[in-house]
Amino acid sequence: MHTALLIAGKDLRQRIRDRSAILLAFVVPFVLAAIFGLTLHDVGNGTVTFSFALVDQDHGPAARAFVANVLAPVEKQGLAHVRTEPTLAQGRKDADSGKVAATFVIPAGFSAAVASGGPAEVRVLGNVDEGIGSLVAHSLAQSYAGGVDGVRVAVAATGPQNPADARRLAALAGAAPRAVTIADVSTTRKELDPGTFYAAGMAVFFLFFTVQFGVVSILDERRDGTLARMFAAPIPRSAVLVGKLLTSVVLGIVSMTVLAFATHFVLGAHWGSPLGVAILIVCGVLAATAVMALVATLAKTPEQAGAWGSMVALVLAMLGGSFFSVAQAGGVIAALSLLTPHAWFLRGLGDLAGGAGAGAVLGPAAAILAFAVVTGGIALTRMGRLIEP
């Protein structure tokens, strides 16, 4: 073990001097987490306020219904501020200049068109630099259009009537509570806020690159002749392997721990119970080391191992939901994501985010360890070729 520690110490010293390793292990994941987290942090917390403008050229009942049933509630919730503009030109100017994220335009004749069943539209003029705000405006308009369609279906279903009956029925249908409303599909206690999600997602994604610096460096040493030199020394060859694996594990744990602290104190990420997080980090690091060890045993050169390792890291991260939640995709993708340590890592953090104690992560931790055992087991059967000079 002394020899393995010696080799790991030498490797770590080299890594500390290698600025690219520092960048990849600490700086890049932190910066990306900050960018993603800060961009979406306010949305997730419901504290963002979008500015919209409204140009009402109709002034009819349907226009008033749009304002009362769609815009007023979001204003009341503090999600949007709506200013009324007298002309289309002014509304367009507001959107173009960025004064508002989007302008709703209700054209003249809109209410009449709705009542007669003719084509009617609410136009949304979005600001190109306010992608999210524009999308929200489109969604609001879309929800209103969906409601109007529902009323039309209801009216049509009652058969031919006189206009007065139709208006009365439409008013009734429009005012009736929705039979089906969409609730939040995830339970609140398992939902990570965007800041924490991206901090953890980026950390676990880059973890797979970070651990490469340990186990894959055995291929570098073979190419550079230093591996043969070590094998000429009076040490067991397995000590070299253990030293390299140890380097990966130490690098992984240090990188994840630093990122957890940094994102917590700087970006406000909420990782949850320290013990639970520590369990998840250790298991995640073991899984990452195991899979990268497997990659190293399959590759012939360090360059090949680096390329293959990057591909594996990217695919696992995409599938495991490091960049966006794949659980919503459902079906095969959601099922496949459970084969990745990333998904279980984030799931474990979700449990902790809900206020659960460290015990809650034992299930996800066991799943991550199972991944480590399977990939590490395969790697072990092939590691003999790594310790040939």
């Binding site: 020899t3 010293r13 030199r229 094998f231 009076p234 040490i235 060859r237 000079p389």
Partner: protein, 313 residues
């Protein structure tokens, strides 16, 4: 030879269809420098790899300081200082860090390792640059560090695999001087090269390797004797040249003597051994010798004679 530091017996190693080493045997005594001379691909590096426990031979045995060598040996490996052909150093570590790491790998305790590192830095002439990263060194400095690592644990056998390849003349000379000094201190040295001049300068005995086989071994003189050639000595001078030639011809080592173009031309068995006697004899016969030329068969000729091809083919 009971005082052998290294004993190789019947080494064989095959890689696929290539028989890289085919029955090589040799011994090296303490303080002896043994050269393995042969062209690229002759099997020198494979032999070295087996000697150092990097490769298991298909057949044969290696003993280092009385301990059997395998890829798992500890005692035998501890007795060897291995200097590989290519630079095997960590460029992002300083020379001192490189040396300290390998010192600890060879089991030298931390405090002793510090002392030993300082000593080796002096020996290889890097004491003033020991705290600089190796990547800032010139090629020659890197080579010296490469050799220094092999000296750390004061090995009984130093194995140098073509240590001067790609080295400038000044550094090359420094390396050769170091090897001469170490051998003088009693270290056994196994030195592979395809440079004839290095083998002639350094080695007490030379093994000529080709196609994985040891074609011949012995001292330089013994190897040259295999060729059956004689040396030619030309004594340039003034005085009674005929008398000088006649007197020299009486010496046992002289095969023929004649006077030609104002010089005495002599064919002798071993010019280096009899040169002084020749000069004394000529002087005694009334010749004032102003210049000497010697032509003698070299290892290149020996190699050509044994293998039918030039050393650098």
């Amino acid at each position: 030879m009971n005082d052998s530091v290294l004993s190789c017996t019947g080494l064989r190693k095959r890689f696929g269809d290539v028989q890289a080493v085919n029955g090589i045997s040799f011994r090296i005594a303490a303080g002896e420098t043994y050269g393995l001379l042969g062209p690229n691909g002759a099997g020198k590096t494979t032999t070295i790899s087996i000697v150092c426990g990097l490769l298991e031979p298909d057949a044969g045995a290696v003993e280092v300081a009385g301990a059997p060598m395998t890829t798992r040996s500890v005692a035998a490996k501890a007795a060897i200082g291995y200097v590989p052909q290519d630079l095997a150093i960590y460029p992002d570590l300083t020379a001192a860090e490189n040396l300290r790491f390998f010192a600890r790998l060879y089991g030298i305790p931390s405090a002793q390792a510090r002392e030993r590192v300082a000593e080796v830095l002096e020996v290889v002439g890097l004491a003033d640059r020991g705290d600089d990263q190796a990547q800032t060194y010139s090629g020659g400095m890197k080579r010296r560090l490469n050799i220094g690592i092999g000296l750390l644990h004061r090995p009984r056998l130093l194995v140098l695999d073509e240590p001067t390849v790609g080295v400038d003349p000044q550094s090359r000379n420094a390396i050769l001087e170091s090897v001469e000094r170490l051998a003088g201190e009693g270290m056994a040295v196994l030195y592979t090269t395809h440079y004839m001049e290095e083998a002639e300068r350094l080695c007490d005995r030379i093994g000529i390797v080709d196609l994985g086989e040891l074609e011949a071994e012995g001292t330089r003189a013994e190897l040259v004797a295999l060729v059956g050639h004689h040396d030619r000595v030309l004594l340039q001078g003034v005085g009674d040249l005929d008398a000088g030639a006649h007197a020299c011809a009486e010496l046992e080592a002289v095969r023929a003597a004649s006077v030609r173009d104002g010089a005495i031309e002599l064919i002798v068995d071993n010019a280096r051994e009899v040169l002084v006697e020749l000069l004394q004899t000529a002087a005694a016969a009334g010749v004032a010798v102003g210049g000497v030329e010697m032509d003698e068969p070299d290892l290149e000729a020996v190699f050509l004679h044994l293998t039918g091809k030039a050393l650098r083919d």
